[in-house]
Every structure is written in structure tokens, then in C-alpha cells.
């Protein structure tokens, strides 16, 4: 399984945000995207996921087989928003995403335990604190299996212990042959991750 970007360019509202991005990631490799605000980190992730059109160059996803023919089908996209309904309980939210995306390596309870949210699954998502919400959203990555994780500021709002726990989770995902692309300002604690620094264009 490989994720390859060739001479990739992206634009927002008709203006070029970045261009000439090149990388190739194999199984077990991680790419940490850094750069100042407005450098196009989120845009890059959304282009890889196929949510935004490619302005120049191309993104390829190879070797996914029948299950994962494209990057869009192979990825978990964790954006700024948590994609959880505040009116439903944490467990209901996670069960929905598990049923919608296909079952994964961990059950809902197990995923919550892993992120230190055991015992609060019955609470409405709206009652949780910012950090707990983020952790519940991260639990979404575990309840259904996708080889490619696209993470946009995954640790925003997390405390030190949760950050470390999340670092371990990403490590485990990489060991099992996954690919991680993370846009962040904070060090994520992934060993051997490659770094892509995006600067302002022009």
C-alpha cells in the first residue's frame, strides 16, 4: 500500500496555497505536516482525502486491493470538527460510525477504554469537555479499520497524558502497516516520522 503525491498543488478560493508537494509513503510510514497558519496543511489533507479538487499534479493510492481502491475509501479523516452528534450518547455516536464504515479492530467499549473514556459512554456527547470530545472522536479511528489516517490537528485540546496515549496509538497503527499523515503544530511523538514543512507561497 502506497500513498504518492506528485507535484501536488492546491488552491483555496481560486488562489494557489501551495504547489510542488512531493512525497511517497509506504506501509508503516508517517508524514508530519508542519507550517505556519494558512500554509495549506488542512487543504493538503482535504485534497488527499478527495474532499477538495486537485489544482495541479496528482495523488495516487496504490495497492489497496478491492477493499480500498482509492485514498478516499482507505482513509479515516479526522478534521477540526469531531463529526459527532451532541444529542446522542458517545456510544450511540461510535456505534453509528462503526456500522456505517464497517467494523474494525476494536469494539466500541474497548476503544473508549483505550482512550481513557471508559464509563462515560452513556453520556450525551454534548456534555463532554473539549479534550474528552477529541478523544471520543479519536476513538472513531479505532472502531472501524482504515489503513490511511489523515489527521488534522489531532491533539488539539488534549492533555499531556492523552497526547502520549495517542502517540502510542499511532505507533501501533504504523506497526500494523498503516499510514499516517498528520498536520500539526505540536510534536506528536511518532518515531521515524518524516516531516514536510509547508511555507507561505510567494
Amino acid at each position: 500500500m502506497r500513498l504518492i503525491a506528485e507535484n501536488l498543488g492546491g488552491e483555496r478560493g481560486g488562489e494557489t496555497v501551495f504547489s510542488g508537494i512531493e512525497f511517497a509513503l509506504g506501509e508503516g510510514q508517517a508524514l508530519v505536516v508542519t507550517g505556519p497558519n494558512g500554509a495549506g496543511k488542512s487543504t493538503l489533507l482535504r485534497i488527499i482525502a478527495g474532499l477538495l479538487p486537485v489544482a495541479a499534479g496528482r495523488v495516487r493510492f496504490e495497492g489497496g486491493g478491492e477493499d480500498f481502491p482509492s485514498a478516499a475509501s482507505a482513509c479515516h479523516y479526522l478534521g477540526h470538527l469531531n463529526a459527532m452528534k451532541t444529542a446522542l450518547s458517545v456510544t450511540e455516536n461510535l456505534c453509528f460510525w462503526r456500522d456505517f464504515s464497517g467494523a474494525g479492530s476494536a469494539g466500541v467499549e474497548e476503544a473508549l477504554e483505550t482512550l481513557g473514556l471508559g464509563g462515560i459512554g452513556h453520556l450525551p456527547f454534548g456534555y463532554l469537555s473539549t479534550g474528552q470530545r477529541r478523544r471520543a472522536a479519536i476513538a472513531k479511528l479505532l472502531v472501524s479499520h482504515r489503513p490511511l489516517w489523515l489527521l488534522d490537528e489531532p491533539t488539539a485540546g488534549l492533555d499531556k497524558a492523552s497526547e502520549e496515549r495517542f502517540g502510542e496509538l499511532m505507533g501501533k497503527h504504523l506497526e500494523s502497516g498503516g499510514i499516517v499523515v498528520a498536520a500539526t503544530h505540536l510534536p506528536l511523538g511518532i518515531e521515524g516520522a518524516r516531516e514536510l514543512v509547508m511555507g507561505m507561497v510567494g
Partner: protein, 221 residues
Amino acid sequence: MLALFLRDIRLSIHAGGGALTGVIFFLAVIATIPFGVGPDLRLLARIGPAILWIAALLACLLGLDRLFQADREDGSLDLLVLGNNRHMLALTVLTKCLAHWAGSVLPLVIAAPLLGLFMNMEPIGIGATALTLLVGTPAITFIGAAGAAVAVALPRGGLLISVLVLPLTIPVLIFGVSASYGAVADPDPFLQPFLILAALTLFLAVLGPVAAALALRHGTD
């Protein structure tokens, strides 16, 4: 797909879900009409089916703007669009439409016979109107989905959706009302307009979700 259907139904029942908003609006409109028209019972009975249909149509449009906007605001819409390979986006939209219809519009259809009494309608007329509403209102939801998908990025899209969708729902209204009248007024046929209404619903069940899926696919930013 079933999971999505159940989630949306559950959300529509929860506080702020909008299941009751439509019914209350429907009730308010129908309850006001007799005061405005006056105590002429025969006139009320004559305009009853049309008023029920118009009020139901407007009540349907009321909740449409939340169909995709709620999902967009919390980021779920991105993930639903990304699920395209597993669940075709048009089917996802169809499921959302059905859930929206069952959660917010079906209560209107159930309330319609009761409100028909307010309009001094005959039992057979009430039955016919409820039946045409049951068959016709899904079409309004399907057209509305296309409108909602186009206006999903706009912060106050509700009015725009109504304006976009209203002209397209006119055929549904015409055939719904003429079938309702066909059941009570003798020379008018019931079956023909009713079958056209059913055909409209089936046709729009395909066209609406496909159009909405296209709009959502190109509307992500």
C-alpha cells in the same frame, strides 16, 4: 444504511430535532384558516383539501434546511461524502431523505385527518387527502434534498431553499389536490391524478437524491 436511518430518526425525536416544529406549524396554519374564512361551513369543506395540502407543503419546506446543514456543521457530512465507495452517496442521501420524511413529515400526515375535522371535511375527503399526502409528501422531501444540498454552505439557507424548491413542488401540489377533490366531487376522477402523483414521487425518488449527491460532492470546501 440502516444505522444512518436510525440515527437520523433518533436525532429528529431528540430536543431541537424538528419533528414537532412542522406539526405545530401545520396545526397553527389550519387552526387559523377558519377564523380568517369565517363560519361558512360549506366553503370550509370545499377549500379543505387544498388548504391541508398547502399547509403540509409549507410545513415540509420548513425543516428542509437542516437536512444536510446539521451534518455539515459538525463535520459528519465530510465523512458521509468520503463513504462514497462503500455506500453510494445518492443512496446515503436517499436514506437521509427517508429518515427525514419518517421523522418530520410523517407526523404531518398522521395529524392531517384530525385537522381535516377543523375544515368540516367529509370522512371520505379526509381519507383521500391523508392518502394523497402520504403518497405525495416524499416527493417534496426528495426535491427539497436537492435544494438543501445546493444551499448547504449558506448560513441562512432556509428561505433560499424554499424559494428554489417551491416552484418544483407545484406539480405535486396540483395532482395531490386534484386527487383529493376527485374523491369527493363526483364527476372528477380520483385514480388518474393519484397515479400521476405516485409516479411523480417514484421519479423524484431517483432524480432528487442523484442531484443532491452531485451538489454535495462538488460543494465540499
